[in-house]
């Protein structure tokens, strides 16, 4: 009998680990659920949107789903407190928020600020709360998922592109602060995927196909395991070779 030690050790690595997923993409959440088997580890999902009622405080249901508005500090605090109370430790935080922020011409400064408040500050609010807990445990993984378009900016999505560049920068700065505490912070920039919108033409992908959810899940899987412990502050382009930039 051939024993797949790699596979086995990874399962052991994952067992009894707890992850919080913050996303406004149902597609992404469903893909995570399909890829990662619930018996091996615990995922809790925080579904976000700007129009979630700010007055009703979020609560996890029995499927470990909560709905929250990341623009409100109290919402984020409530969700993170619940998840920390539920589990002894939070080992990973994955954030994937909508990268469509709006175009340059018609977006007013107030709308621009609202989007930053949602995406960039929302991510910061979650990272602040969860990293406090990770700092105590001296371990953790944080993954920000962004859109590769930020590296090839355009005015059609100027608001979203600039916010993603900001988050890419912030991921690297936070990584420097958190790495000495054994907390790895990285980002993934998604190219042309079935669930991303890419406003530039991507007709020159060396791998000759669009990315699918399993491409993303296997990279998340890798970044969440201990085998990636020397990857710190990286932004990994997951794009089938599209971005040939130094």
């Amino acid at each position: 009998m051939v024993v797949d030690f790699d596979h086995y050790s990874k399962k052991v690595e994952f067992m009894r680990k707890n992850f919080l997923v913050v996303s406004d993409s149902n597609f992404f959440v469903d893909a995570l659920k399909k890829y990662f088997l619930p018996n091996d580890f615990n995922f809790a999902y925080c579904i976000t949107a700007q129009d979630i009622d700010l007055n009703s405080m979020p609560k996890f249901d029995n499927k470990l789903m909560a709905y929250c508005n990341p623009m409100r500090h109290e919402h984020v605090q409530s969700v993170t407190k619940q998840i920390i109370d539920m589990h002894e430790s939070i080992d990973g935080l994955i954030i994937f928020l909508n990268s469509e922020g709006g175009e340059y011409f018609s977006t007013s400064p107030d709308q621009w600020l609202d989007y930053w408040n949602y995406k960039v500050l929302g991510s910061i609010r979650f990272i602040n709360q969860i990293s406090k807990h990770m700092k105590k445990n001296k371990k953790g993984k944080i993954i920000n998922i962004l859109n590769l378009e930020a590296r090839f900016p355009n005015l059609i999505n100027a608001v979203g592109n600039s916010a993603d560049m900001g988050l890419m920068n912030l991921t690297k700065a936070m990584a420097a602060e958190l790495a000495p505490l054994n907390i790895n912070c990285n980002s993934i920039s998604l190219g042309d995927f079935e669930f991303t919108k890419f406003n530039n033409k991507m007709n020159d992908i060396p791998i000759n196909r669009q990315g699918d959810s399993s491409d993303l899940m296997s990279l998340i899987d890798y970044l969440l395991t201990g085998n990636s412990s020397y990857i710190v502050g990286e932004n990994i382009n997951l794009d089938g070779g599209f971005s040939r930039i130094l």
Binding site: A150, P153, N169
Partner: protein
């Protein structure tokens, strides 16, 4: 070098001191009509007195974080000089120091509003006027934190990165209209702003500020700080006809310090 800037109209935000002031001075020497603005009327008056020999200068008090102020800046510029050819977005330096959980939420929102959206407000109005002549230059002063993230520069880094992103997107869109948009990132310049940074570096490394400065200078290939005039010369070059094929680029004026591809 003949830069042919006479009769051009330039707005330099944050033009009352440091790099902005040096830029305004060189533009004035090149016979451009120059508008400088600052939040502080006192700083503006001080700058005006130092530039009193030039009759082609206009000063306007303006906080680029406020819509009405920016509208007034452009209204005054058009009223006095009739057009806008060059915009140097230079205002709003972002602060150094606090770590992630020490930064107040309002500080984040103010930083976004004052720098990123301040640049957006000015750029929108400038380009509106530039489109009338299908010609113009926008030069965004960014800061190395955009390219080189730092845990002590958490509000400034992401905003500078966002300004870089916007620079490239604007350049891409408006190139066909003869409007060139560039970014310029100054390295360590002896404006006093850097002393604040060194205080943090020294504190963290448990060394004196003087030692931190020596260590820092050692990492700069030219072994010294830059002067505001050296940055200003590059800005004025980008504003001139000599830089007519440069758009969407980021120019580093840092004595060779940043050595990343």
């Amino acid at each position: 070098m003949q830069l042919k800037l006479n009769n051009k109209v330039a707005i330099v935000t944050g033009g009352s001191k440091g790099i902005g002031f040096a830029t305004a001075k060189i533009l004035l020497e090149e016979r451009a009509n120059v508008v400088i603005c600052s939040r502080s009327n006192e700083n503006l008056m001080h700058a005006k007195s130092k530039l009193k020999k030039y009759d082609n200068l206009l000063t306007v008090q303006c906080d680029i974080g406020i819509d009405g102020d920016v509208k007034n800046l452009f209204k005054q510029t058009i009223k006095n000089f009739g057009k806008v050819d060059i915009l140097v977005n230079n205002a709003a330096p972002t602060s150094w120091g606090p770590l992630m959980d020490e930064i107040d939420e309002s500080e984040w929102l103010n930083a976004v509003n004052d720098k990123l959206l301040g640049y957006v407000r000015c750029t929108k109005l400038a380009i509106e006027d530039m489109l009338l002549r299908k010609s113009g230059r926008v030069i965004n002063i960014v800061g190395m934190g955009g390219r080189g993230p730092n845990k002590r520069y958490l509000t400034g880094g992401p905003i500078n990165a966002a300004v870089l992103s916007l620079t490239k997107a604007l350049a891409d869109y408006y190139g066909k209209n003869g409007i060139l948009v560039t970014a310029l990132s100054p390295g360590p310049i002896d404006t006093g702003h850097h002393k604040n940074i060194l205080t943090w570096v020294a504190q963290e490394a448990k060394i004196s500020t003087e030692q931190a400065m020596l260590n820092f200078i050692e990492g700069i290939p030219v072994k010294r700080y830059g002067h505001p005039e050296e940055v200003a010369n590059a800005i004025v070059f980008l504003a001139s006809d000599k830089a007519s094929f440069i758009t969407g680029s980021e120019v580093l004026v840092d004595g060779g310090r940043f050595r990343s591809l």
